[in-house]
């Protein structure tokens, strides 16, 4: 059955509905209905994702000609994104009930939601950029919700990275638009492929979207922001928002156009490195949300590998895209369930609850690790199929690396489970249905995913019963067990801990050192030198201060005679130009 829905108002409501409650929030009387409606603002988008099975584009007289629509790729993204926004929204209503800042949280949540849904629905460059920016900036309000000093620091770094991302994306968008001669997204990949500035555009795109996607070394904001945000917001950040960067790559990069082996290899190497790097740093974390954040870095790395495949081997485009679609959906749901589970585990009070919550977490963790029959296993099978398209020596290595990555993921999930395992000895909170219900839905979606699949995918799920998907999990589990045993031994107290934000901290430390060197060594030396060069050292120093000079210059420009003379000089110069040229 195919349904075509082409009324523009319908599509506008999908992105505009979240803004409505946001507008109602300041009005005291309408506040509680607005808060009640918050999660369901994503419902029209979910409806569109479920019902629209054809490519549709509608045009609206907004911005520079807004086009909204869906293609198969974005339909999948919209499906899991809208779903997760609803689940996390319902969860947030209980999680933050009674919180003084809930109204503000609602406002930012809705704005971010509008941005996230909008960028998926956008079919033109300008709208895409608008929604992307809206999402990035509005999420700042989610990150800093708690308001503590550490959270504010995380927020600052998040904001800096967002603005940095904008600085890369805006030129990329403009260059793309100029190359395409239109703002339509359909024309973009071909335009990028054919542009004379292809390397520049691709570089800008990889970095700009890479920051959002948490790509290797651009991920520094991610392990800071995800734990800082309230749990439902973390679920959104990790589940859907980092996928926006991935979607950006898929929509803008020339996949399936001419083969770009160098770019492809670069992406594959960066992806695989990130996959292991995330696990290694993640293992040293103790906070469950930090572990999950690093796991996201690792998982996004795996999806980047598929992107690399599509870039390097044009014929593998379809395969790689399906792999990414399946993988992204799987990861969004599983990561959502895991993040929400952290909050649920915190509220456990009885041992029965403990058992149920534990089982749920285990299920989600197993899915992420790729245990047979799970969504993870299906996703990994797709990924592996895609890698077969790469030329031979690489292909074998890649599939081995992928399996090793699965081992690593299992290990990290084990570490997570140990960190989060519900503890009834903690002061008991009340585990309200508002928390466990949405979480259960998420877990059920992860677990029962296979049954909702179209037939061709379901057959793949059966294929995952093979040994190749079984052994990594088994090995990983064994390793976890061994590690646990080692860890529990009285003599063993070796606990490496890399602080969240890893390379960023290294960078900051380096800057700090440089600063200290400058202050301790360079500045006195410079002063001594200048003092010798000029006896009136103070005067010289003032002269060298560019800023001061400029400001003094402005002051001088202000005296009337100088200003008038400048006008006169301009007149004369222009006159000479006119007479002589």
């Amino acid at each position: 059955m195919t349904i075509t829905l082409t009324h523009p108002a319908l599509w506008l409501s999908a992105v505009g509905l979240p803004l409505l409650p946001a507008l109602l929030l300041p009005v005291a009387r309408l506040r509680s209905p607005a808060q009640l409606l918050m999660p369901w603002a994503a419902a029209p988008a979910l409806g569109l994702a479920l019902l629209v099975s054809q490519e549709v584009v509608v045009e609206l007289p907004l911005l520079l000609g807004m086009r909204l629509g869906l293609i198969p790729l974005t339909r999948v993204f919209l499906l899991f994104t809208a779903l997760l926004w609803i689940i996390a929204g319902v969860y947030a209503q209980s999680y933050l009930a009674g919180d003084a800042g809930f109204r503000r949280f609602c406002g930012f949540y809705l704005l971010t939601m509008s941005g996230n849904l909008g960028l998926i629905l956008a079919r033109d460059l300008v709208s895409f950029y608008f929604f992307f920016t809206l999402m990035g900036l509005a999420a700042y309000g989610l990150v800093i919700h708690a308001g503590t000093a550490a959270v504010q620091r995380a927020g600052r770094i998040y904001l800096i990275l967002v603005i940095l991302g904008e600085a890369f994306l805006l030129p990329a968008m403009l260059l793309t638009a100029v190359a395409a001669g239109t703002y339509n997204l359909e024309a973009v990949p071909a335009a990028v492929a054919g542009s004379a500035q292809r390397p520049l555009i691709m570089g800008l795109l990889l970095i700009g979207f890479g920051i959002k996607a948490g790509a290797l070394f651009l991920h520094v904001w991610l392990p800071l922001a995800h734990p800082a945000a309230p749990t439902p917001a973390s679920a959104i950040l990790s589940g859907t928002m980092i996928k926006a960067g991935l979607l950006g790559w898929l929509l803008f990069l020339p996949l399936g156009e001419p083969a770009l082996p160098a770019w492809g290899t670069f992406c594959m190497v960066a992806g695989i490195t990130a996959a292991f790097y995330g696990v290694v740093v993640g293992l040293t974390q103790s906070h469950p949300k930090s572990i999950l954040a690093y796991s996201s870095v690792s998982q996004m790395g795996l999806m980047t590998v598929a992107l690399g495949v599509a870039l390097a081997v044009p014929t593998a485009r379809t395969l790689a895209l399906s792999a990414i679609m399946v993988y992204a959906t799987h990861h969004a749901l599983a990561k959502g369930a895991l993040f929400l589970g952290v909050g649920v585990a915190d509220h456990v009070s009885t041992s029965r609850q403990r058992l149920l919550v534990g089982v749920g977490l285990l299920l989600a963790a197993l899915a992420l690790a790729g245990a047979p029959l799970s969504s993870g296993a299906v996703a990994k099978t797709f990924l592996k199929d895609a890698t077969y398209a790469v030329s031979d020596p690489w292909s074998a290595r890649l599939s081995l690396l992928l399996q090793l990555a699965a081992v690593a993921t299992t290990l990290l999930m084990g570490r997570f489970l140990l960190a989060v395992w519900p503890d009834t000895r903690k002061p008991a909170h009340h585990l309200s249905p508002g928390l466990w219900l949405p979480w259960s839905v998420a877990v059920l979606l992860v677990a029962g995913w296979v049954f909702l699949l179209p037939e061709e995918l379901a057959t793949v799920a059966v294929k995952t019963l093979a040994f190749s998907s079984f052994w990594p999990v088994a090995v990983g589990a064994l390793l976890v067990g061994g590690g646990w045993w080692l860890y529990r031994r009285p003599g063993m107290r070796f606990r490496p801990a890399i602080p969240e934000g890893d390379v960023l901290l290294l960078l900051l430390w380096l800057l700090n050192v440089l600063q200290r060197v400058r202050r301790a060594g360079v500045v006195p030396a410079w002063n001594a030198l200048t003092r010798q060069a000029d006896r009136s050292a103070g005067h010289w120093q003032r002269q060298t201060d560019v800023v001061t000079t400029l400001i003094r210059l402005e002051g001088r420009l202000n005296t009337w005679v100088v200003a008038g003379t400048i006008f006169m000089v301009l007149l004369t110069l222009a006159l000479l130009l006119v007479v002589l040229v």
Partner: protein
């Protein structure tokens, strides 16, 4: 620092002089390159004179063909008086003013001159439709009479605002009313019916003469009359 400032000033001055000379020469060259034959609108104005309602071409241009410019220009004059008043300068009695006030000869002369000046002003305004003259010339003479009266302190400053302000705004008001009123007749803005043009222009010019004269005299005074009057009375009482 002082020395540096002087050097800056010196250089600025040198540059300014050099630029002024070069610029002046450039302008002279430009002036010489201007066309020698008449290119103006005289030929366009002449055939339409009969429709203008007046016989003096300058008045026809000012009040009819380019009446819109003149309307705005009266606006500038009204704006000037409002702007000067908005500065709210303190009223001062200068030494000259006191001297004048105490000299009976001047007072006599002013008594003699002012009526004659007003007569001249009226004549200038009336003759403007056919020969050199008009509201501006007439208004300037009225203003001269007003300045003389002010200097001789022979008119008490009005304490009530309404009358004075009405006189000031009256010329502009009539002009504007005529301009807009033409729309009611189905004409364009300021489009006089040719048969009424003369009388309308004369009416506008007459009121303008009073308004312009008064405005110029009050611009000379520079302070808000009613405020000054209150102050003056206060001083006199002391």
């Amino acid at each position: 620092m002082r020395g540096r400032a002087n050097i800056t000033q010196l250089w600025t001055r040198v540059i300014l002089v050099v630029c002024s000379v070069v610029f002046g020469l450039g302008l002279v060259w430009t002036a010489l390159a201007l066309p020698q034959e008449a290119t103006g609108l005289a030929r366009v104005v002449k055939p339409r004179m009969p429709e203008s309602g007046v016989t003096n071409p300058v008045t026809a241009v000012l009040l009819n063909f380019r009446g819109y410019d003149t309307l705005l220009e009266i606006g500038v004059l009204l704006l000037a008086i409002i702007a000067v008043w908005s500065l709210r300068l303190a009223p001062t009695r200068t030494a000259l003013e006191r001297f004048m006030a105490e000299t009976p000869v001047l007072a006599y002369l002013v008594r003699l001159l002012v009526p004659v000046m007003l007569l001249v002003a009226g004549y200038l305004t009336w003759i403007g439709s056919s020969r050199a003259g008009g509201a501006f010339q007439g208004g300037a003479v009225v203003a001269g009479a007003g300045v003389l009266l002010l200097l001789a302190a022979m008119v008490p400053l009005p304490r009530r605002r309404r009358l004075l302000r009405s006189l000031l705004v009256m010329g502009f008001g009539l002009f504007l009313a005529v301009a807009g009123g033409m729309l009611l007749l189905g004409n364009n803005l300021l489009e006089y019916p040719p048969e009424r043009a003369y009388i309308l222009i004369l009416a506008i010019e007459t009121l303008l003469t009073v308004s312009i004269g008064l405005t110029l005299a009050l611009l000379f005074l520079g302070v808000i009359p009613e405020v000054a009057a209150i102050q003056q009375r206060r001083e006199d009482n002391v």
